[in-house]
Amino acid sequence: MRWLAVTVALLSASAALVAGIYLRDRDPSGWLPPPRVAARQDAETILLEIACPRAICSYRLVGNPRPGHWVASLFTGAGTVCFDIDLVAFDVDASRGFTGATRVPCRPAGTASGA
């Protein structure tokens, strides 16, 4: 009977491994960085795309108005501009620049910052 239990345990382990791989990969959210981290990366990318030197420019994440959207406030030396970043749609193209971020009015708030 002991070997029967061993057999059942090993077969269960095989089935669990296969099922685990299948089910885990059905949830692709684990491959994306957390929304706040993604928003930071996108804000830094916008700074790079507008060729704003890091010594002068910085950004802050000032809000998360709705799921998948973050508002970043960019300090460019000449002033402050705010962008609503769509985390899913945001992309950078060599010819068109960045897409998926729209300019929005800045509102006083503060949640996170980066230089």
Partner: protein
């Protein structure tokens, strides 16, 4: 009732048989671990600005389909083909690839020959969400081993 229990006990009391099945189950588990663990999956969540891997140049070598949610800028999958399907569109084919303990669907370039089961497949392209929820690499570059 007691008679049935005795019959069941007699049926199950076959230590030699269960020893053999245990060995076979151990071999099966080892095969699953080795088969699922081979290969690799590399994902670039965002377009890199510096220190790009050599395969990154293939990530923009085609038109990304816009009818699927994009999960990552690009991915490189190096694994074994498990199964394949063709259609519904003309020249459209998908291959399920197991690599690095991950199952990934690879959408082949139009007209590409479909690799048979067990063939080594290396695919590079944007990662999107397949219709069934799995991760799908839209292969702009495909190499078969």
């Amino acid at each position: 009732m007691r008679h049935r229990l005795a019959a069941l006990h007699a049926f199950l009391n076959r230590p030699r048989l269960w020893r053999v099945t245990a060995v076979m189950a151990a071999l099966l588990l080892a095969g699953v671990v080795v088969g699922a663990g081979q290969g690799s999956v590399q994902v670039l969540p965002r377009r890199p600005h510096a220190a790009t891997p050599p395969w990154e140049r293939w990530c923009t070598a085609g038109q990304v389909r816009d009818d699927r949610k994009r999960l990552a800028f690009c991915a490189r999958v190096d694994g074994l083909a498990l199964a394949s399907t063709t259609g519904p569109g003309f020249g459209e084919a998908h291959v399920a690839v197991i690599a690095g303990f991950h199952l990934t669907i690879v959408r082949l370039p139009y007209g590409a020959p479909v690799p048979s089961r067990g063939t080594r497949v290396i695919a590079v392209g944007p990662m999107v969400r397949a219709r069934d929820g799995q991760r799908e690499v839209q292969a702009f570059r495909l190499v078969r081993g």
